[in-house]
């Protein structure tokens, strides 16, 4: 499966700068369908920038960014919206759209600006809300919700977009322990069952090691190491990338690497 699915998302020798400094330097990155790819690394490493280059929101200064072999910038906005979605650090909401209205906006690339949402769109929104346990909150204004609840709303909106590529910047931010695992489970299932390419940025290496098939360790705008959790999540890599001492051992149930932080190096 892995051979056929390689490179649904493909960055080749990408450089990017917001002004003077190159914050992304010569990054080559790929994410395949049917699996979760995790980008990990310290604060300010360029993880979010990388993901926004994939989504087409930022244009690389050098190098190429392609999804399904095509240049994202050359796609029409709606075409892009049907193919890929991105969820990042969302702004504090100003207006009290209801949860349902917010999730339904995920249908925008499908309906366009003029057509009203049909039964299919409502059904998609309902599935997404149900998946993230938002049924009871459907008519609540998002301004009334806690940040964890809102995080689930924005995730539901991304799922409701029904794209084959999902780019999620910190899907588990603001979430409690149970929802952390549930949300990662939902994303992993979306990858597996619908052959979607899911790319996540994570701070929790344990979640990354458990749910991702491939990890990219990023530091100072460069890929330091990439590969399977077993190959990459080692005390040595963590020391090099984060400058922290850790104890790594196989998870008692699943055998994937489990990280216990000891001290800053």
């Amino acid at each position: 499966m892995k051979d056929t699915s390689e490179g649904i998302v493909q960055l080749e020798g990408v450089w990017f700068s917001y002004g003077r400094r190159w914050v992304i330097q010569d990054v080559t990155f790929s994410a395949g369908a049917g699996e979760v790819t995790a980008i990990v690394g310290p604060n300010g490493a360029g993880k979010s920038t990388l993901l926004k280059i994939v989504s087409g929101f930022l244009r690389p200064g050098k190098g190429s960014s392609r999804v399904l072999g095509r240049d994202v910038a050359a796609m029409s906005p709606r075409e892009r919206g049907k193919l890929l979605t991105y969820m990042g650090a969302e702004l504090e909401p100003v207006f009290g759209f209801t949860v349902e209205e917010t999730v339904l906006l995920g249908r925008f690339p499908h309906t366009g600006a003029l057509r009203k949402e049909g039964p299919d769109d409502v059904a998609a929104a309902r599935r997404a809300m149900n998946l993230l346990h938002l049924d009871d909150l459907a008519q609540r204004p998002i301004t009334d919700l806690s940040s964890g609840e809102r995080q689930r709303v924005y995730l539901a909106r991304a799922l409701c977009q029904e794209t084959s590529i999902l780019l999620i910047d910190e899907p588990t931010a603001h979430l409690d322990m149970a929802y952390e695992m549930w949300v990662m489970e939902v994303l992993a299932r979306r990858a597996r069952d619908q052959n979607a390419a899911v790319v996540v940025i994570l701070h929790d290496l344990n979640l990354a090691a458990r749910f991702a098939s491939v990890l990219y360790f990023v530091r100072d705008g460069r890929v330091h190491k990439s590969g399977s959790p077993g190959e990459t999540v080692t005390a040595e890599t963590i020391r090099e990338v984060y400058g922290a001492e850790c104890y790594v051992f196989p998870h008692p149930e699943g055998g994937w690497p489990q990280v216990v932080p000891l001290r800053p190096a």
Partner: protein
């Protein structure tokens, strides 16, 4: 689960449809009142008879009333509705676009631009050349130039940054306003005329202005309504809107231009009338929610109601003098707005405890 979800949506839509119908009814009543009341009051029944059947033949009294209603009050009331409608809609668009409930239709410097245009027209005696269009035409041109200038200042490599737009709007507005003040000082003999224009009001309304404004507002108003869903997406920020598959720059540009053109038309005919475009969308949002497909038309309707009623008060409270309508919109609108805010806060607290 299924029933509850779709049920919730349906009842929401029905409630909103009723509120919209209520606003239409209010506006009709306001128009009827506005046409009927004044120095010569006419009962609503007679108003309808006069307007739809014309004066009773052979009755000079009826003929006089018909003249007053048809030539003076009706165009004024209709202009009030059109201008209120434009300002309400434009305010809703600007607030959604800037993600800021403090944004108003004049954010691109449209009102100061219009003032400069009108004042220039007054001072250089455009009246001789342009006749009835002596004020609206230069005012509209001024508004359009200000808007285009602010927009181009904030646009760089095809991208318009909203914060820059806001700031250049403020900067340019104050610059133009000082220009207006300068002209006032230099041409002291025209000061009264200038001050009268800058206070804003509907007294210059005529059938000519209605004839121009009505199709203009209908076309731009419909276009604004078609932008509802892009505006919903933009209310979540440009990055979110981009990833929802929106052409962010194009939508922003369209929304800014349409709202500013609506505003420019309103200011050109009546001078700057404050408060309507700021408070009406906010108040409507408290009742209807922020989804623009309801918010935009309802803000238009509510703005029309507010302006027609305010103008009615402006010309009947202290006859024969006329109070500037902006004074009334603020005096009547502000307490109502505070009441709504207070209600919302009470509800919010109830939900928390």
């Amino acid at each position: 689960m299924t029933g509850a979800l779709s049920g919730g949506k349906a009842t929401g839509a029905i409630k909103k449809a009723w509120v919209t119908a209520g606003l239409v009814a209010c506006l009709s009543a306001a128009i009827l009142l506005g046409v009927g009341l004044g120095a010569v009051p006419v009962r609503p029944g007679e108003v309808l008879a006069l307007l739809f059947k014309g004066p009773v033949s052979g009755d000079p009294q009826s003929q006089v009333r018909w003249e007053i209603l048809w030539r003076l009050r009706l165009p004024r009331v209709l202009m009030g509705s059109l201008v209120g409608f434009s300002l309400g809609m434009a305010g809703a668009v600007m607030q959604g676009l800037f993600r800021n409930p403090m944004a108003d239709p004049y954010i691109l410097g449209v009102s100061s631009g219009a003032s400069l245009g009108a004042v220039t027209g007054i001072v250089f005696g455009a009246g001789r050349a342009l006749g009835a269009w002596a004020l609206p035409l230069p005012a509209f041109l001024g508004a359009f130039c200000a808007m285009a200038l602010v927009y181009s200042l904030a646009t760089w490599h095809g991208r318009t940054e909203l914060l820059t737009l806001l700031l250049s709007g403020i900067a340019l507005s104050s610059m133009i306003s000082s220009g207006v003040a300068l002209i006032m000082v230099l041409f002291r003999q025209r000061t009264e005329e200038i001050v009268f224009w800058t206070m804003g009001g509907l007294s210059r309304s005529s059938w000519n202005s209605v004839r121009v404004s009505l199709p203009y507002v209908l076309v731009l108003g419909s276009l604004t309504w078609l932008l509802s869903r892009p505006l919903d997406a933009l209310a979540f920020g440009e990055e979110a809107a981009f990833h929802l598959g929106l052409d962010v720059e194009k939508s922003k540009r369209l929304a800014l231009f349409i709202a500013s053109l609506l505003t420019a038309q309103a200011v050109a005919f009546t001078g700057p009338i404050g408060f309507v475009g700021l408070v009406v969308p906010h108040a409507v949002r408290l009742v209807m929610g922020p989804a623009h497909r309801w918010l935009v038309p309802c803000s238009g309707l509510a703005g029309a109601c507010l302006l027609v009623l305010s103008d009615l008060l402006a010309r009947t409270l202290v006859p024969p003098a006329e109070i500037p309508v902006g004074v009334i919109t603020a005096m009547g609108g502000a307490p109502f707005f505070l009441y709504l805010l207070f209600q919302q806060r009470k509800r919010g607290r109830g939900a928390e405890s």
